[in-house]
């Protein structure tokens, strides 16, 4: 559905976030973008979403033009809900911005909330919901326009392990039911190995694609599957190689952007 061709992105402050990145997305794919902090995962995702423009290379969409609003859904690390709006009103937002009346939207709002298991919480405000539930609302909001492409930027990174496992399994079921393409950014090897059909490993400074592999795991695998442990080990080995033998820790530290976008560093320290 999308072919990313030799894309580069250098920010005005001189940070080269991406260099020579090429990647193909097929319909129905589930791709994990995996890499350490600051390697340009979010930048790549924003380029795909059209929220930022590359200054080298290009994005070639199969239909010949960039997707229209609503064809792409985006889930951020924080649920980023409107705190003054109910769960249902938050899910309504994308439809509202496209001029669909509340009445017309009602069945789709119910459907989207039901898909994430929150039909009972339509009238709840974000502060009345747990972190996991807020993230579910955020996912429902991204799904309500029935996007063909779902972009997720470390959506579960701020959640506890139990909630994260639960949401990961639910996300897989959702993906199976909906059949849209998912690009899932994470810095967790375990998460990438568990979720993705394809794992794209990125290395930092400047961000490049270090390696790419298809998941050997069968659909519906469990976390206890020995093949899962093997895959985690494989990816870990590839990651250490990508970051340089013997000095992964130092490289990770160097890759952590102390400078750069203040909004991002705020988000990280929060």
């Amino acid at each position: 559905m999308l072919s990313i061709e030799r894309v580069g992105r250098r920010f005005p402050n001189g940070t080269e976030a991406l260099r020579d990145v090429s990647l193909r997305l097929e319909p129905g794919d589930f791709v994990a973008l995996l890499g350490p902090s600051g390697c340009g995962k979010s930048t790549l995702l924003r380029l795909i979403a059209g929220l930022d423009q590359p200054d080298a290379g290009r994005l070639v969409w199969q239909e010949g033009h960039a997707p229209t609003p609503g064809e792409v859904g985006f889930v951020f690390q924080d649920a980023t809900l409107l705190p003054w709006a109910t769960a249902e009103e938050n899910v309504y937002l994308p439809l509202r911005l496209r001029g669909i009346s509340r009445q017309q939207a009602a069945p789709r709002l119910r459907e989207a909330l039901a898909r994430v298991g929150l039909e009972q919480f339509a009238a709840a405000r974000p502060r009345q919901l747990s972190g996991g539930m807020r993230m579910r609302v955020s996912i429902a909001r991204a799904l309500v326009t029935r996007p063909r492409l779902l972009l997720m930027d470390e959506p579960f990174a701020a959640l506890d392990e139990f909630t994260r496992h639960r949401l990961q399994s639910d996300l897989l079921a959702l993906w199976q039911a909906i059949g849209c393409t998912v690009v899932f950014v994470t810095h967790s090897i375990y998460e990438a190995a568990f979720l993705a059909r394809r794992i794209v490993l990125m290395s930092p400074r400047p961000g490049r694609i270090a390696s790419e592999r298809a998941s050997p795991l069968p659909w519906g695998h469990s976390r206890l599957d020995p093949a899962y442990a093997t895959l985690v080990a494989d990816i870990t080995a590839a990651m250490e190689q990508a970051l340089g033998h013997g000095a992964p820790v130092a490289d990770l530290a160097a890759a952590d952007p102390a400078s750069g976008d203040p909004a991002r560093s705020r988000e990280r320290s929060a």
Partner: protein
């Protein structure tokens, strides 16, 4: 636990009463003349000697305060929104807002009183200048306070600037506006009083500040204190009232605990 919280709540009152008692006791024990430092009882007596006159003056000052606060709120919010909507407006407005903030009102009040013929309007203008900045600056920062990701989300769905303003930036600014309003409320009162002081010598004011000046000339120090007490009570009430208003509005909207 409950007793403790009750004690916590009653403690400011008890402390205040204790301080008043010590004050009264000291004034009596050392035979301080009432034209130097009146005791609390003398102050209450001074108030009771002419409650209508003092309360009328309070009402006059409060009228100036509230009109000025309303004007400052509307003007401050409108200019902040204009600045958020257009860079040109921002470049044009920002320096003047700062000029307005750093100008000492005492220095320009005489000019304003001369220029604005109507005394009431002159007082309102002075108080508005003092009250303007907090509500303006808070609203401006509130309009920029929404998470950048939410801005991205609106862009992703092709939201117009108008939609982004009405559905995201204005609602996000509301708590900040209310905070600014609360600060401006106190300042409007200060501005009104300062303007009355300046105008008072011109001889057309009827506000509390004028009563304070007048009582000072006549060495009616107890009456002066009574007017001062009314003034601080009004300030406290305005602050508490605007705080309450903010909490109610935010709770109704559902985003405040």
């Amino acid at each position: 636990m409950k007793d403790a919280s009750l004690a916590m709540r009653a403690s400011p009152l008890l402390f205040g009463l204790l301080a008043l008692a010590v004050w009264e006791g000291a004034v009596r024990a050392f035979h301080v003349p009432v034209y130097l430092v009146p005791g609390p009882i003398a102050i209450v007596a001074a108030f009771l000697a002419d409650p209508i006159g003092l309360l009328r003056s309070l009402a006059s000052t409060l009228l100036v305060t509230f009109v000025a606060l309303a004007v400052a709120a509307v003007l401050g919010a409108a200019l902040a929104i204009a600045m958020a909507a257009s860079r040109l407006a921002q470049a044009a407005i920002q320096p003047w807002a700062v000029v307005l903030q750093v100008t000492p009102i005492v220095a320009i009040a005489p000019l304003i009183i001369v220029w604005v013929g109507n005394p009431f309007a002159a007082l309102v203008v002075c108080a508005t200048i003092v009250a303007f900045f907090p509500v303006f600056a808070n609203t401006a920062s509130g309009l920029a306070a929404a998470a950048p990701e939410l801005g991205d989300l609106f862009r992703l769905y092709g939201a117009s600037r108008w939609r982004t303003m009405t559905l995201l930036r204005l609602p996000a600014a509301l708590p900040h506006f209310l905070t600014g309003l609360r600060i401006s409320g106190g300042l409007a009162l200060v501005g009104a009083v300062v303007a009355e002081f300046v105008a008072g010598s011109g001889g057309f004011a009827s506000g509390l500040a004028y009563r304070i000046l007048e009582a000072g000339y006549r060495l009616e120090i107890a009456r002066m204190f009574a007017a001062l007490v009314l003034l601080s009570l009004a300030g406290i009430a305005i602050n508490a009232g605007l705080g309450w208003l903010g909490r109610v509005l935010l709770r109704r909207r559902g985003d405040a605990a």
